[in-house]
């Protein structure tokens, strides 16, 4: 492996952050410039949203079920099985639903975006697009950012619902408890701040997934091997960022909403 000086390494990292910031800012700024490429947005929404729907729903259903099982064993010791619905609903809606949906979509779509755009870079299609008078950020990045944010928002809502159904399934089939009580406590527990927190996160996560995927794709170097590398790096970076940013958003919203 080639050794580089710490100064050079630091310069490269700072430049990367700067380039990412410019791409992220322009991807949103392009929303106010014509053309808007609505057809590309719809196509991406189909790929990202409907394509990810089964795995997001499955992941959330089983996580909700596992959460109910784990909670039950602890709550049983204190004779507090009736609050199982509260635990599952808060856990799923505030935290697990958005993070799981974000991680699943990151794994599926950040890699897809990085590999697709990376292939276009190494085959000079991005240069061709610029040469033909089209801004690749406007044509390729902005539609992906808008579609990922919108679709992750709705995927999270459906994921939350399936997570709660997963919990209800365990309550009914395994714990043999009353599901009316489960749904009632779930409904009673959820407050505006829980739902607001749970639906703010996918907006931020969607932005991270699309901009990271596009950034790594558009900065692909080194042929087909570089495409593979960009794909892996995009998924890793998007997942780490989602988990790290989740902590900051949670704290920020707690302060803002006074919870």
């Amino acid at each position: 492996m080639e050794l580089i000086s710490p100064t050079q390494y630091a310069k490269e990292k700072v430049t990367s952050v700067q380039d990412y910031a410019v791409l992220a800012a322009r991807s949103l700024g392009n929303l106010f410039k014509r053309p808007l490429y609505i057809a590309d947005m719809i196509q991406q929404a189909d790929l990202i949203g409907f394509g990810s729907l089964p795995i997001v729903l499955a992941a959330c259903f089983f996580t909700g079920a596992a959460l109910a099982l784990n909670s039950a064993s602890t709550l049983d010791r204190f004779g507090a099985m009736t609050v199982i619905g509260q635990l599952v609903s808060v856990g799923i809606v505030r935290e697990l639903g958005p993070v799981l949906a974000g991680l699943v979509v990151a794994g599926r779509n950040a890699s897809g975006m990085a590999s697709e755009l990376g292939s276009m870079v190494v085959t000079e299609q991005i240069d061709a697009m610029r040469a033909l008078g089209t801004d690749p950020l406007k044509k390729l990045v902005t539609p992906r950012v808008v579609s990922t944010i919108a679709m992750l928002f709705f995927l999270t809502i459906l994921g939350d619902l399936l997570g709660l159904i997963g919990g209800a399934f365990v309550v009914k089939a395994v714990l043999r408890l009353d599901t009316h009580q489960y749904w009632n406590s779930t409904w009673q527990t959820l407050e505006f701040s829980d739902v607001f927190t749970g639906l703010t996160k996918p907006v931020v996560f969607g932005f991270i997934i699309a901009t990271i995927g596009c950034y790594y794709g558009l900065n692909t170097k080194g042929g087909t091997q570089g495409v593979g590398r960009a794909t892996t790096e995009a998924v890793v970076a998007a997942m780490i960022l989602i988990i790290a940013v989740d902590v900051f958003i949670t704290r920020l919203l707690m302060i803002t909403l006074g919870t």
Partner: protein
């Protein structure tokens, strides 16, 4: 001795250009990390001229084309395209200029998820205000120029390498650009297909009088450009009659170690005493 008139036509949208030179490089320097690629390059491409750029691999030939299109920015120097200084232009402004400049990429760079029709019509579709009927007619016209009308509904993956290059040329010429940049258009192709591509370049030069920069590794291609013209009556490329070769708007430029070591016409190139150039062209 007076030079006989060439049997090529004079019809051209660029007959009365508002500026004398199509492309001007003045002391252009560019390095990638620590590797100096271009070290003070200066040359002029006059309106209607074609200039072939030679050099060993990695000598910066394709870089010159990307600089001329504003896809890369130089570290120093000035580049003027159609009278506009492109170094100081922002990307948004460059998009406007690029409507008048076309490039044929080394590997065609066709959009692989689009059909030939969509690839060729790409620029017109992006305009957004051109009637569908007109787009269809212009696509047919451009594909007819490269004799590939039958491929209109095919995808790039279904075409041979030579056909992809020709579709690339059709995509480039559909808007009748004032300047054309060819990046190794015959690289990796068999001699027959290469000759077809060169014939198209000669046709574009002699019929439409488009200013062109041509990067190539194949000397015979450039020499063919310098010794042939396009006869529209017979719709084919023909060798120039004796004593008319100097009248062909064709120049040659040779790069070595980031510098231009030759910039002249075919006659000067053949008469040069420079041992490196003699070895290169032999």
């Amino acid at each position: 001795m007076s030079t006989p008139t060439l049997p090529i036509e004079n019809q051209s949208p660029a007959n009365n250009p508002p500026h004398a030179d199509a492309v001007v490089f003045e002391d252009v320097k560019l390095a990638f990390d620590t590797k100096v690629v271009l070290d003070g390059i200066s040359f002029r491409l006059a309106h209607g001229d074609t200039k072939a750029i030679f050099g060993v691999a990695g000598s910066g030939k394709s870089t010159i084309l990307k600089l001329a299109l504003g896809l890369l920015k130089p570290d120093a120097g000035r580049i003027t395209v159609l009278g506009e200084d492109i170094v100081s232009m922002k990307e948004d402004q460059l998009f406007e200029l690029r409507r008048k400049v076309g490039i044929v990429f080394q590997e065609s760079a066709l959009f692989d998820s689009l059909t030939v029709r969509e690839n060729v019509a790409y620029r017109l579709l992006e305009e957004g205000n051109i009637p569908e009927q007109e787009i269809e007619e212009r696509v047919r016209e451009a594909l007819s120029f490269v004799e590939l009308e039958h491929t209109v509904d095919m995808y790039p993956s279904e075409l041979s390498g030579g056909m992809r290059r020709r579709v690339g040329i059709a995509r480039t010429i559909i808007t009748h650009p004032e300047v054309l940049l060819y990046d190794s258009p015959t690289g990796g192709l068999d001699p027959v297909t290469s000759n077809t591509i060169i014939e198209l370049i000669v046709k574009q030069r002699d019929v439409y009088k488009t200013s062109s920069l041509l990067v190539t590794h194949r000397l015979q291609d450039a020499f063919t450009l310098g010794t042939h013209y396009f006869d529209r009556a017979e719709n084919k490329m023909k060798p120039l009659p004796p004593h008319t070769r100097a009248a062909v708007p064709m120049g040659f430029l040779i790069l070595r170690d980031g510098h231009i070591i030759f910039d002249g016409d075919l006659k000067t190139l053949r008469e040069t005493e420079d041992p490196y150039i003699r070895e290169y062209i032999s």
